[in-house]
Symmetry: none
Subunit: 231 residues, 2 copies
DNA sequence: AAAATCCTTACGAAATGTTTACAAATAATA
DNA sequence: TATTATTTGTAAACATTTCGTAAGGATTTT
């Protein structure tokens, strides 16, 4: 699953590249622009979750761009600037920006602030809209917060291990997990000698989740490889 | 119309006073606390729009307080700290805080960040934010103002701890709380060693609230996880 | 058919939750 | 203040659920 999309606007290509590298290594999709105008072009055509904008740019500066974006969107904006004077910060934040980082900045701090802003944005968007912290795959629904599991619209009561195992499989529908992988993910331990512990739990899961456990439709066996939940 | 309410938590009274002066001059309503525990007490009784919390405090520190608040609320939190190391920032932001200001800070910058956080919060919360003084879930009704509790239309007399515990569960119907979470929320203290104090209180609550305490319908057990009140 | 892999069952041990009882702490009352 | 009642925390006994193991059966692959 692709994570959030982020737009980086800076006329200094080196800095834009530096930021891009860190964002990508954190799993984000990155758009780059070398001017405010180019940045606005991208903003209007892409579905962005966060903007990182340099203040000092020729032609249109970052503050103006911020204002224009704010006319139509509440997307989080982090401003970059070489000036560390207090006035700049206030202008930046008062202008509709959500955070402010001074150059030269540490990439790790910037990443932390990116994460923080995204958390805010997505948190609010999930509370106001429908609940998003649930997993739905074909005839299976897992409510993570309420710890409820529904299979074929019937609630089933799972043990902690079963819940964790099913969540693992359902979080990556289509992906095949070997018994070793499942063990390591669920028990958080390396596996040393082979045993059929995981298989027994798969059996118990099927007993609770499948219509006909002898002919499993949700949790499928991939011979010689492992188990999966069909996408 | 009174503006937003803000809670300032700092064991250093001089700093709390300084911040208060600036907040008041900007038109905010201010609550002050000198410890995390006191701050949590206020948080649970007042309708706050923003929290400013010092990290370094005796007994419970600001990060722990932040965690406890985040279990039930998305209110913006700005952390204060004397340490300006990068690690601190990341820990602070990763912990659920929304912004971070290093001491000694300039009051004007803090005010700018307050304004920025409030803008975000109120923008997203334009829909509904009325404070309820009554909680109703299935066969349970809690009158917060008069401290009355009705279960199956019969009034029950609860002790302070029982009342707080039931309110916590009923305020988040469906959400599962671990015994540790319940302890932290009700006692406003970090838990150090496991004991069954919470369980005993659950038992006593069930005795008063359930039709058949041996077969609890309101307060349900989620094995290996915690307790919840069904939505 | 043989080999490899997976399924099923059952049972005891371990983990977790419940209940009860009692003493300490707190609040209410005389 | 002394006395009583209520609330709260702790510990131990009890009950239930969950978990891991092993062994034999079933199915698929070679």
């Amino acid at each position: 699953m692709p994570k959030e999309s982020i737009l980086v606007v800076d006329d200094d290509k080196e800095i834009a590249d530096l930021v891009e590298i860190h964002l990508i290594s954190d799993g984000y999709k990155v758009f780059k622009a070398n001017s405010a105008k180019e940045g606005l072009e991208i903003f209007q055509h892409e579905d962005l979750q966060l903007l990182i904008i340099d203040i000092m740019m020729p032609e249109m500066d970052g503050l103006e761009m911020c204002e224009i974006v704010r006319q139509t969107s509440n997307v989080p904006i982090i401003m970059l600037s070489a000036k560390s004077t207090e006035l700049d910060k206030i202008v930046g934040l008062g202008n509709g920006a959500d955070d402010y980082v001074v150059k030269p900045f540490s990439p790790l701090e910037l990443m932390a602030r990116v994460k923080s802003q995204l958390r805010r944005f997505t948190t609010f968007n999930t509370t106001t809209n429908a609940k998003k912290n649930e997993i739905v795959v074909t005839n299976l629904r897992i409510d993570l917060e309420n710890h409820n599991v529904f299979a074929y619209d019937k609630e089933v009561k799972l043990t902690p291990i079963e819940f964790k195992m099913l969540t693992l499989l359902a979080s990556n529908p289509g992906k095949v997990f070997s018994t070793d992988e499942i063990f390591e993910q669920v028990w958080n331990e390396k596996i040393y000698e082979a045993n059929n512990t995981v298989m027994v739990h798969i059996r118990r899961l099927r007993e609770k989740v499948e219509l006909n456990p002898r002919n499993a439709q949700l949790i499928k066996t991939v011979w010689g490889v492992g188990y999966k939940i069909e996408k």
